[in-house]
Amino acid sequence: MTNTNWQAYPGETTLSDLTQPLGLNVQNFLSAATGIAVMAALARGITGRQSSGLGNFWVDLVCSILYILLPISIIVAVILVSQGVVQNFSHYIDAKTLEGGSQILPMGPAASQVAIKQLGTNGGGFFGVNSAHPFENPTPFSNFIEYLSILIIPSALVYSFGILVNRRLHGIMLLSAMFIILFAGIGISLWSEFHVNPAIGGLPFMEGKEVRFGIFPSALWSVLTTAASNGSVNAMHDSLSPLAGLVAIFNMMLGEVVFGGVGSGVYGIVLFAILTVFIAGLMVGRTPEYLGKKIETRDVFFAVIGVLLPCAVVLILSSISLVVPGGLAGLSNKGPHGLSQVLYAFTSAANNNGSAFAGLNASTPYFTILTSIAMLLGRFGVIIPVLALSDSLGRKKYTPPSTGTFPTESSLFVILLISVIVIVGALTFFPALTLGPIIEHFLMIGGRTL
């Protein structure tokens, strides 16, 4: 429902074959469609001319499932099945391994769920280890398809948003801002994975990566999945190098802006665009306008709440968990890495990502309850302000642009938007990050472990 899909359970052992498709898969579709519906409401608010009402949620919901999610899911599922992702209701198979031991091979309707988990930026895998599992992600081609499906809908929707508000170029600008942050993240992540670990003689980090894929796809996936608020994994992020882990955490901390969730990525970055226009837009000497709507007190208020509420949730819950016994009990590492694990968990939950650092034992009641709170606040704490904002914008007059208007369709805007996103994210989380991944990185360079 919250599009987070935090998995504290391994799907194959705790849930039956029917619960997965009927209980969880429906939620996968609905949560993604909800994101699209909220985005559509926002677009209607922006294009509205002193109107009230933001459209019909049910119509949007049904249409997005019927016309977008379902058809693409079917196509992706069929491709995945062709690559060997299981899709059946068979009993688990008791197989003899080559060494002569026995192993239970779990079976079930996985492909249909994998498709929507990727497409709908849900990320809840059929199996516990998610897309690192051979039955969820058997081949390099399936891996590629799964990459593609992480980004395809969230990024396409940014473009659609541009069309919905009659500013195609603005949609492209938002999209390019996302791509720039994404590529910067991929760059840092790969550099850190391949180059800097004197402790193991500068060799790349292989521990915890799916050996069938190797480092490049694992690191790439980690950046994509955190950027896109997807949360599926093909490697365990706990084993990423500190800076790659930092990129993953930071991607989520930025909120749902670099593609983000289906629909939610659009309204996430629009909140930032509004803040950008407000801060920098004053500098052109006019009351700031976003796509022809004047940004006033109410709008700033809602945008700020939408941006900062998830941040606040992450900071408060992580901080508490690092001192109370219930929180400390879940850590598998001491030292800064333990801090990263907790920080990652709450960041992931509050930003509807759902990927995990895996090292953290999150299935304790303590973490289950707190992460659930984080998920609810992180989802609805953004959706509600966004809807309020849409309503407020919809009631305003349209201000036609002139040469004195702040340009939202220029490369300057893209640079500004990126700066605001990164600076707000950095300023909020820098202290916490220094004590986690950053200190870890410096320790590692110094050749020390804890």
Partner: protein, 697 residues
């Protein structure tokens, strides 16, 4: 007095002295509460003061030197912000004092039932009639209902030349407190004492009723949220630090003092401390341009204006039509026409008549001459629409020279048995089509040619409009002329659009239409018939010479009564918004460097290897600051001093150039965004060096 004030330096010693004492007076918690960002600093300063007192009481002097310095600098931060506000208010207060001195109670000569009686000015009511003669001080605001007088308004406008006020027309408003210099007028009082123009002016310049403007409120929400999130970021740091201390077995340098310092450095104190000063100085800058804004909201709205309605007469063109050329009829020499035109106009005192004399002199070398005593002047009359002279010619016969509208001259020559040449009729048509007015000149029954009268567009106005267009403002000219004339003048002046044959209704309708399309409309006007349009417009600037009705309807009064002032009004409004944006950007960008100063200081002890002094995070100390203490103190000092350093900018405003939004944006971003990132690195390092040098740490 205003003229005097214009010369006063930004940091006039008298104003500074007053501002310093005011900044202590503003430590009153009831005043501090109004500015949430600075309130946080205020509370932090109080907490640290308690810490220091407890240390003194307990004789614990381990961190005393550090703590007391931080405490002092926090108090300075609060005081500096107070000082910025106080100095912005200072100029207005000084002006209010002089105005108040003027408002002394005067004796009014009230006329009741035809009898004159002397009453106190404070007893006057709306509708009373009072009499003022030369030397009297006008007891209250009102309109002249009878008579004409020259009035010295220098007390309000700073202009020493007296102005004429007369009943009827658009120059009837008088202001209480000004002095009649000549003649005698009867005034109908239009404002009750205490709500007069002077009273409003005092409260405006003093900033007594200052409310946050819409944009200021929106910015405050943003600043408040940033403050909240930074408080949270630092507050939650406790958990992260405790964990890390336990995990590493080292102590961090995260005492209460350091955490408080971090909060104060991160929250946007720069813009928070200067925000109200920027708003007040915006009003003040308007005042220095002799524009009295009735609310801060109006000043701010001026920056948003994208449509401007301007009266043609006096704004775009010089007040009256001027003769620009002479066109003789076929067969007549130009000299003869010039001679006749000049003779017909010599006794004509109208501006048009005088312009013909000037034209004859400048272009045709005819000097002014004395007319013979027998000359008879026929003045213009609305019935005949003809003027001219009858004078004795050289041969003793009478010359009858006439000038007037084409039709009238046509009738005139026909009644004298002459003919109106068809050719001239065609020329006259062409002249009219080009937007000018043709006058025909005739001597006796013979038509000599045409005088072309034209509206002369003011020099430099075209460039002004081009500037406005670059600012994104559409200009609309309002005129009573016919569409043909209007179009030609509009083209010559370079306005974007015009309303011809304008009536109060068409003006009002046009403003409404523009507003419904989402535009913000500014208009400048003086007459009573402008009042509805002034009230409807988003920024209505009334001329001080205008009627009382116009002054009531507008939200600004231009004391100089100069219509091109509207452009400066818009610039001031834009400056106000730009200054806020620039300082906000600067303030946020500053935080990056402060993290690099304080965080390594706090955490460099963590995870230190067994023998070593410093942990891995010392690598973040990119500025190479001397010690944790000096790093934190330098950041706090920088944070306080930058407020003082930016006071002049806040008061004067960021420079505005009429360029497109993109150019302005890139320029300001480079200056305040990039500058805001880099400057504090340099500043903090310098302060650190000084602290170490003077052994303060």
């Amino acid at each position: 007095m205003t003229t005097q004030n214009k010369k006063t330096n930004l940091f006039d010693p008298q104003i500074v002295r007053r501002a310093i004492s005011d900044s202590f007076r503003k430590l009153d918690p009831r005043i501090q509460v109004k500015n949430p960002v600075m309130l946080v600093v205020f509370i932090c300063a109080i907490i640290l003061t308690i810490v220091v007192i407890v240390e003194i009481a307990g004789s614990q002097y381990s961190d005393f030197k550090f703590n007391i310095q931080i405490m002092l600098w926090l108090w300075f931060t609060v005081l500096f912000a107070n000082f910025a506000e106080a100095i912005a208010e200072g100029r207005g207060k000084a002006q209010a004092d002089t105005l108040r001195a003027m408002r002394k109670d005067t004796v009014a000569r009230r006329i009741r039932n035809g009898q004159e009686e002397k009453v106190s000015a404070s007893d006057l009511a709306i509708g009373d009639l009072v009499l003022c003669e030369a030397g009297d001080i006008i007891p209250g605001d009102g309109d002249v209902v009878e008579g004409i007088a020259s009035v010295d308004e220098s007390a309000i406008t700073g202009e020493s030349a007296p102005v004429i006020r007369e009943s009827g027309g658009d120059r009837s408003a008088v202001t209480g407190g000004t002095r009649v210099i000549s003649d005698r007028i009867t005034i109908g009082i239009t404002a009750t004492p205490g709500q007069s123009f002077l009273d409003r002016m005092i409260s405006m310049v003093e900033g007594a009723k200052r409310q946050q403007t819409p944009n200021e409120r929106a910015l405050s929400v943003l600043l408040l949220s940033l403050t909240a999130i930074f408080l949270l970021a630092v507050g939650t740091l406790k958990g992260f630090t405790t964990y890390s201390e336990n995990a590493s077995g080292n102590q961090s340098f995260a005492s209460l003092t350091v955490l408080i310092s971090l909060v104060v450095c991160l929250i946007p104190t720069t813009i928070g401390g200067l925000l109200s000063a920027i708003g007040i100085s915006g009003m003040d800058r308007m005042l220095r341009k002799n524009v009295l804004a009735m609310s801060g909201k109006a000043v701010e709205a001026a920056g948003d204006i994208d449509v401007m309605l301007l009266d043609k007469t006096g704004t775009i063109t010089l007040g009256n039509r001027m003769a620009t050329s002479l066109i003789p009829v076929w067969g007549t020499s130009i000299d003869r026409l010039a001679d006749a035109a000049q003779l017909a106009s010599l006794p004509d005192e109208t501006p048009e008549g005088r312009s013909i004399v000037v034209l004859a002199k400048d272009k045709y070398g005819l000097r002014g001459r004395d007319l013979p005593s027998q000359t008879r002047f026929i003045p213009f009359s609305a019935r005949t629409r003809i003027s001219g002279v009858d004078l004795p010619g050289r041969d003793g016969t009478m010359r009858t020279i006439r000038k007037g509208a084409i039709e009238s001259i046509w009738n005139h020559v026909r009644s004298n048995g002459g003919l109106f040449p068809l050719e001239l009729n065609v020329t006259a048509h062409d002249v009219a089509r080009s937007g000018a007015t043709p006058l025909a000149v005739a001597e006796g029954s013979e038509v000599l040619g045409l005088i072309v009268l034209k509206d002369v567009v003011k020099g430099g106005i075209r460039e002004r409009f081009a500037e406005l267009r670059r600012m994104g403002i559409k200009t609309i000219m309002i005129t009573g002329d016919n569409p043909l004339t209007a179009a030609s003048i509009a083209a010559e002046a370079g306005v974007d659009d015009f309303i011809a044959e304008a009536t109060p209704e068409t003006k009002l309708q046009r403003i409404r239409d523009e507003q419904s399309e989402g535009h913000l409309v500014a208009m400048i006007g003086d007459g009573t018939n402008d009042a509805p349009a002034l009230a409807q417009s988003d920024v209505g600037v009334a001329m001080n010479t205008g009627t009382q009705a116009a002054r009531e309807a507008g939200n600004m009064v231009d004391l100089d009564s100069n219509p091109t002032k509207l452009i400066e009004v818009v610039e001031t409004g834009k400056q106000l918004l730009m200054t806020r944006g620039a300082l906000t950007t600067f303030s946020i960008a500053n935080d990056v460097s402060k993290y690099f100063a304080i965080l390594p200081a706090m955490f460099s002890g963590l995870y230190a290897s067994a023998g070593g002094q410093l942990g891995p995070l010392a690598a973040l100390n990119v500025m190479g600051l001397h010690s944790p203490q000096s790093a934190v103190l330098s950041a706090v000092i920088f944070n306080a001093l930058i407020i003082v350093a930016l006071i002049p900018l806040a008061l004067k405003g960021v420079k505005y150039r009429p360029l497109g939004a993109s150019v302005i944006l890139s320029r300001n971003l480079a200056l305040f965004g990039l500058g805001g990132l880099i400057i504090p690195f340099v500043g903090i390092k310098l302060i650190d060096l000084l602290l170490v040098n003077f052994k303060l740490i």
